[in-house]
Amino acid sequence: MWDIAFVPLNKLLKSTHLRFAIALTAVFAVIYLLVGWFAFLAVDTELRERVSQADLVTSSGFAEIYRNSGRSALVEAVRSSSERNAPDDSFAWLGTRNGERLAGPALTAPGALQTGDVPGRNLLPELDEGYHIQVTDLDDLRLITGVSHEESDEILGLVSLAFGAAALLTLLLASLAGLALARQGQRRIDAASGMLDRVAAGELTRRLPVSGSGDDIDQLSTRINSTLDQLHATVEGIRQVSADIAHDLRTPINRLGIHLERLSDSVGVDHAIGPQLELARTEVRQIITTFDALLRIAQIEAGARRARFQPVDLSGIAESLVDVYAAVAEENGQTLQLESEGDAPARILGDRDLLVQLIANLIENAIRHSGAGAIIRVLTRAEPDHVVLRVSDTGPGIPVDDHARVLTRFHRLDQSRHTPGSGLGLALVKAVSDLHNAELTLLDAEPGLAVELRLARLRQESPTPETKSVET
């Protein structure tokens, strides 16, 4: 039960179960206190009533002695009573109506006393308890009897103590039970949300556990599971369709290529239709390239690649690609520069092959569209929680209104129709970016185009909690 302390506090505080437990415990505490207060008052009243009754009985006893046996017998009875009892429990005082003492303790101001409760120090300086006194006038005599509330105060104290201890114990047990229940509920919710994360990561066959109790969490889990079944069926369907298309089309395309190659071989390069055959073969290669890109995008969008994600250093990929393309840019009369900011490594969780293709696509786009003399910059920036990749050029750029359209499949800007390419480059960039839950934005580099990709940075796995706390 005590390992509740290991559940992070801020997370636990957000738990519906814990909030419920806290609220219930608080209501319970208020009810307990109210009931306790009324019980206390009732006991107090009853005890005070008993004390005043006892006082009245004592007083009546003395009065009877006076009526039966006369004045001197009363004086004697009060005196012997005073000798038997210490004044801090009870006392009896006898005097004249004008305050002259005949027997009993030397009260400070016997003339001013009236029947009822008085503080002890008003009677004798050394008494500190509360007293009930009974003042009875017998002819010219005045009899004052008093009983201390000490005993009833003690009883009340005991009652309060017992009540308080019980209340404390109850609250403690209620809180612990609440925490335990909250933790149990939180565990089920954590398990469910962890499972959903794995589904989102591409493990589409994962399902939430159903305990069989039929409670609300179970009902919710069952519904989520049936939604996941549908999702799985849909994704499988897409995958199957693309596999079918691939299978049904690749064979005829393959055959077309073979026929053309054979034809080309049999007529020879010098034949009149040789150049036309070569054009036809180029077209077939273009069909294959576009087809391949389309199928790739469809498969990337299906998300199954997430199951293969691994830690990847994005700045490392950028560096090696700049290394590869610097020469190509130079041949084009352009400059390709690498810049990096922040603490390396800029690690993320991803698919290395696809990220290489993504960055290569961005660099190739810049090389093909920015024209001679352009400067192309590839920047990686490692922020505390994100890794930013930015490829910018000083070319003609893309009008801001076209930015959204550029990322959709097949779209090519009219002015770039004359440059080669399938038009799927940026659509693939978008698909790979979405697969990585990255934020992809096109910006005006003034002049030129900047494409920025923002990915969640992978936390350094630290072996000890100390280094972790330093980092965060």
Binding site: L249, V356, Q357
Partner: protein, 225 residues
Amino acid sequence: MNVLLVEDDDLSREYVLAGLHGAGHSTDHAIDGIDGLALALRAAYDAIILDRMLPGMDGLALLKALRAAEIHTPVLFLTAIGGLDDRVDGLEAGADDYLVKPFAFSELAARLAAIGRRPALQTEQVRLTVADLEMDLVRRRVVRAGQPIDLLPKEFALLEYFIRSQGRVLSKTMLLERVWDFHFDPQTSVVETHISRLRGKIDKPFGQPLLHTIKNVGYCLRAPE
């Protein structure tokens, strides 16, 4: 080489078999996975060309069964176009190389030559030579005709791949995959640019070229005859 081809499409099979015969290889073939596995288990081949999608038994399952039976004949895996995971699946199952369909025969021939002779490569060698070109793998130095040549790391890797495969044709995609780890078709002239730079360093100053372009196929590094 004695090559087994497992392929269900008639035209593709004829095309590859004709090409293999033309190149002087002897062949066996099967048109479904079950026959293919039976042949592969019975006879010793120098290489197997295996289609990914086959009737009877899937190419991937055939490959796994073959490797499970401790048969380590080099396998060239033919994968479907757009099959993003096929490459990884094939290599994980024990394929030595893969080729995306449709392909030109020259590409297949180049890859077959590479995997068929792979065991003969002396990977522990420290010094590689072609004619008067020498490469010291430990000191990372290249010398031609006694003159030291300064190469960038990727140029060194490119040249090393050529020297190790000397006399054989390497296709553009083979270079992209092996040297740059690119598994896609670049839209710019990456390979041409780097080949041209490498030529500028190892061939141009010396008159006698070693690195040759094989039209529509790729490149080949070989000693002059």
